[in-house]
Symmetry: C2
Subunit: 417 residues, 2 copies
């Protein structure tokens, strides 16, 4: 008996060793949030800084800890009741999908393969599945990146609906400081639809790209020169004509934000809180990266918990209302769906700071490194995915097609419910 | 009739002009939070930055907006119920007190004179008065400055009570990295009581003082060299002997924090949350300025709402418990009250990172620019004051004596209840 228990103990030890080694290898293969910022102090190579928080592998921790990296402004949820999200659990994770190598796998595998942090599917306002990975929890905040732009588009829609913002006016009529810039003679419509003719590069693979210099002024990158968004925006030069073609430029959204502040004569943080966030019945306050003027970085600075991102999607899915509260004009949302125009990316259109997928009857907020809130009103479906891809642009060459197959598989499954 | 209304209108206009002018003068005489960070962008002279947020007049806004200035770490309130603070309103504001000029005024005047942002008096666990000024509200956070140190002292007490921390051990036995510094051969007892012999200057009026250089590493000042607390602490040199006399050194508290992290083998932010904040029944999460390693700045980085500061005081007043939850060992609090030693400041002793006022039977957490949580267990009294003095050291030459008279007047009033 004693000898037997000794052998059991040895086998147990060997097994534990094996598991530890395997875990070590897995960690080596793909760092997770827990591999960073541990220890007192953390080893230098595991330190997440203002210079590396947004790219892999440091974004595995960074995207859930933006407030620990840079100054932010709180967007209050207000005092109203939380909008309920009842649960109607469905085996979404078991839905089959073909992976990058052409192998039949499941949505559960896709979530792992695509570096998911949080994933939630809402159908008819109920949660079919809610998944947390990479140390994210229901209380964790996650960066939105460019999904923040769709919030800003909505603010414009709210003001336009009240007659405070005229989409046909030129930018300089709201913000004289931008008169001599690329933006001066552009209309608000051209700005919100990203058809500005501007000398600007949004190449995420080029560290000297304008988008990185711009990020410094946004306080989301190291900012040794003390730049602000409103220092940089008036300096962009015009190149080509406005209104000719879609051109994705992060700075446009903050130019739109400046227009919004002036049109409403209210601070952007206060507008975001009272006009959108405070009406959603969010569980938690949101927060947004803010620059040295306290200006929220609307091009990519918003952070929320997973469920609140879903509530934002649900409000859009329901034509602008949630829990009996009206937030965004219904005809503004209709305009996104019906008046979108081709971007040059196959199957993807754009309108009002929202991406539109005509063949899926869907529209979406999207951000680099795998952020998406996809809304399919006809199916009463909202799919939220928060991720931390190794690079801003993707996690694998075949990743986008794989993501599309996964989304379609979920849509088809839900159609059968 | 028409003529009469015309005259009324003119008088009204003149009156409005007068009020505006007076308001202008008042604003000029004493800027308030609303004079900063307004506009898109705010005028340069009204911009609150990492370089000016903590001193007047910019601290009028800055102390309530630390998260918008620098990176912070959340200290979760946990999931437990909020500790109730019932109201028993008393005319505290009407209590007479002699002001700096020797004039009989009231506590209401004292609160104005001493640049109050928030003020709360708790007696037998009930709120006698709760005052918000300078745009602060019940949801506003306010910087604690050195009141943060008393939180840290409590953490040490909690660990010592569990046998995880021996006050007689030397610092180097917990943190070898500090072996060759001023701290290496000091005991934890000497560290927590601020009797370290160290070459260091805490002169708030000297911008080249060590405390400012140290603040850079804490991320509470501009930090162009990318310093961290744990870069700076091992570099302080010994000067004189330990245990000889009281010497107030902010860095000591973070050295203590480092010892605590190593003794508990847990992260400081997690310790603050689970061992103190999560047990208080706080209304809101707290947050703390954190350095580039994510290390909380325990010397001066904590931020809470007014009522939660009062709950912290109430827990201490009640011998370490609040709402039925035990937080800090009762004998640790007794030790503060009974074993305090003279500091050299008249009427003020020190122990375990708490200030002790023997002649008032009180002890207190204190911070520059007018922060104080005063606890008088015998009277079941807690007085919390959050302020934004024009300088870190004071608001007027006669300020401290005036404050002392005000405190005594409140204590006497409450004794009669």
């Amino acid at each position: 008996m004693k000898r037997h228990s000794k052998i059991t103990q040895i086998i147990g030890t060997l097994f534990a060793l094996l598991i530890t080694t395997m875990a070590g290898q897995l960690t080596h293969a793909r760092p997770g949030a827990d591999d960073f910022m541990k220890g007192s102090p953390p080893p230098l190579e595991s330190r997440v800084t203002k210079a590396n928080w947004y790219v892999g592998p440091h974004n595995r921790w960074g995207l859930q800890h933006v407030r620990e990296i840079t100054p932010t402004t709180e967007i209050s949820r207000g005092e109203g009741p939380v909008s309920p999200l009842p649960t109607n659990s469905q085996p979404i994770k078991d839905i089959p999908v073909t992976n990058i190598e052409g192998k039949e796998v499941t949505i559960a595998d896709w979530l792992v393969d695509s570096y998911t942090d949080g994933f939630l599917v809402l159908h008819k306002g109920s949660i079919l599945t809610e998944v947390y990975m990479n140390s994210m929890t229901e209380k964790s905040y996650h960066n939105f990146f460019s999904m923040s732009k769709s919030f800003t588009g909505n603010l414009a829609g709210i003001l336009a609906g009240r007659g405070l913002l005229d989409m046909n006016n030129v930018v300089a009529s709201y913000v004289p400081e931008m008169k001599d810039s690329a933006y001066g003679d552009a209309t608000v419509r051209q700005l919100i639809d990203m058809t500005i003719g501007i000398s600007y590069s949004e190449d995420y693979d080029d560290p000297d790209s304008d988008v990185y210099r711009y990020s410094r002024g946004a306080n989301s990158n190291p900012n040794p020169d003390g730049l602000t968004l409103y220092d940089l925006l008036p300096a962009f030069k015009k190149e080509g004509e406005h209104g000719q073609k879609f051109r994705y430029v992060t700075a446009n959204t903050d130019a739109l934000g400046w227009v919004i502040q002036r049109a409403a004569n209210r601070h952007l943080a206060e507008l975001l809180a009272t006009e959108i966030w405070g009406k959603l019945g969010a569980e938690r306050d949101a927060y947004v990266i803010s620059d040295l003027n306290g200006t929220p970085f609307l091009g990519g600075g918003l952070n929320t918990i997973l469920r609140d991102a879903a509530r934002f999607g649900l409000m859009m899915q329901q034509g602008g209302s949630i829990n009996g509260v009206h937030v965004v004009p219904a005809d503004w949302i209709k305009d996104i769906q019906t008046n979108s125009f081709k971007t040059g990316y196959p199957g993807i259109s754009y309108r009002n700071q929202w991406w539109v997928y005509p063949d899926l009857d869907a529209f979406a907020a999207r951000g680099v490194a795998g952020q998406e809130i996809m809304i399919i009103p006809e199916r009463e479906l909202v799919i939220v995915k928060l991720s931390s891809w190794p690079t801003l642009n993707g996690y694998h060459k075949g990743g986008r097609a794989y993501d599309r197959r996964a989304t379609k598989a979920i849509i088809e499954y839900v159609a059968g419910l």
